[in-house]
Amino acid sequence: MSPGWPLWEVFVRARRGVSHVHFGSVHAADNETALQAARDLFTRRQEGKSIWVVRSTDVVASDPDDEGELFDPASGKDYRLPTDYRLPPEVDHM
């Protein structure tokens, strides 16, 4: 690896029917070698059937400092959960 090679985020689909999941990252000079590096590094034991690589700089991430502002408003809204509705035992499986 040369210094200055860009970073790529690696997503692997374990098998048909499940989503690609973030596995980690690799440095590589271009698309093709990024895929090869990801394959060599993350799927030595048949961990996947499909790989996506995305330039890390193309990932737009939320600011960790904004966590409260972004996600706290969803708290205290338990009426979005099935457990918030008491029903008679005969129909409680609903």
Binding site: R16, G17, S50, Y79, P82, Y85, P88, V91
Partner: protein, 309 residues
């Protein structure tokens, strides 16, 4: 990667999933585009009958619940449009198909909801029937659709419970409230039964969609399961299911039930009556009134790009 019919058939036979970059038969792709898009349209149009009740919901809690439910429906529409897009068509194309009535949405949303009890009956019966249809779709052979359905089913589990709770509250209330619940049940029972589609003998695509793993149970199987589950729930409410032929069949261990009005079903699917035009008008109004927001977002993005250059 699937490259031909033979490999496709092998994956289907092994009950594995097809992914968006796989080869697939044209009819499989077309069927899925139609089905997932119509499912998405149904979620978006389905916001209207209940959305109309948010301002009139009888308490702050009921308003919050209903708002959350309508938000979910918007979200579920977006998950499903996203899944449709993995098959080729883009978002604006799909919305055009809805707006120009070239693709349908579930005709259940063309029934009016005149009272608060209808909101309860919709949650209990319409969402109940939808969940019964949707749970097997989590195992649909097309991966992106199945994955969207897993999220949707999980989020929707409160929809039916809140509806039943509304019905329960009304059924335990004054005589007028109980009558209101009974009338809503009378209005929604048969339309809910018909949500499972025509009888298996009339259903054109049943066999093919079962073979493709898009469908897992036939219309009539799901209908029977729904009726078996719902009748005891109506009894618990102390309400009467509006079907004089409904009777428990000990031998079959299922309820026998009367014939739905399939002529009404056909009229509703054809889009007869005032409601379809009203639904599309409301939808288009919302779309057009939102145009300035989309334009502003584009103008801002263009400015950011200019400033960065």
């Amino acid at each position: 990667m699937i490259r031909n019919q033979e490999q496709f058939d092998a994956v289907i036979k092994a009950d594995q999933r097809i992914e968006s970059d796989d080869w697939m038969p044209d009819d499989y792709r077309k069927t899925l585009i139609r089905q997932i898009a119509q499912h998405a349209h149904s979620e978006i149009i389905g916001m209207q009958p209940e959305g109309a009740w948010i301002t009139r919901a009888p308490s702050l809690r009921r308003k919050s619940i209903l708002t959350a439910k309508v938000q979910d429906e918007a979200g579920h529409g977006l998950y499903l449009y996203g899944a449709t897009e993995t098959l080729g068509p883009d978002r604006s194309e799909l919305l055009d198909l809805l707006h120009t009535k070239k693709q349908k949405y579930s005709s259940i949303f063309n029934y009016p909801s005149p009272t608060w009890a209808d909101v309860g009956a919709i949650g209990w019966l319409v969402d109940g029937a939808a969940i019964m249809n949707q749970v097997p779709l989590c195992r649909c052979s097309y991966g992106p659709y199945g994955r969207a359905m897993v999220r949707i089913c999980k989020e929707e589990s409160f929809h039916q419970r809140q509806g039943f709770q509304i019905m329960l509250t009304l059924a335990e209330g004054t005589n007028e409230q109980k009558a209101m619940a009974q009338e809503a049940l009378n209005r929604w029972w048969w339309p809910s039964i018909m949500m499972f589609g025509p009888p298996d003998t009339e259903s054109v695509h049943n066999a093919r969609n079962m073979a493709w793993g898009i469908k897992r149970y036939t219309n009539d199987e799901l209908r029977q399961t729904f009726i078996d589950a719902s009748v005891p729930q109506a009894e618990l409410l102390g309400l009467t299911v509006p079907d004089p032929d409904l009777v428990w069949n000990e031998e079959r261990a299922h309820y026998d039930f009367g014939e739905p009005d399939w002529d009404e079903f056909t009229r509703m699917v054809r889009g007869e009556g005032e409601m379809p035009a009203e639904r599309i008008r409301t939808r288009l109004e919302a779309h057009n009134e939102g145009a300035w927001v989309r334009e502003a977002a584009e103008a801002y993005a263009a400015k950011q790009q200019r400033d960065a250059a």
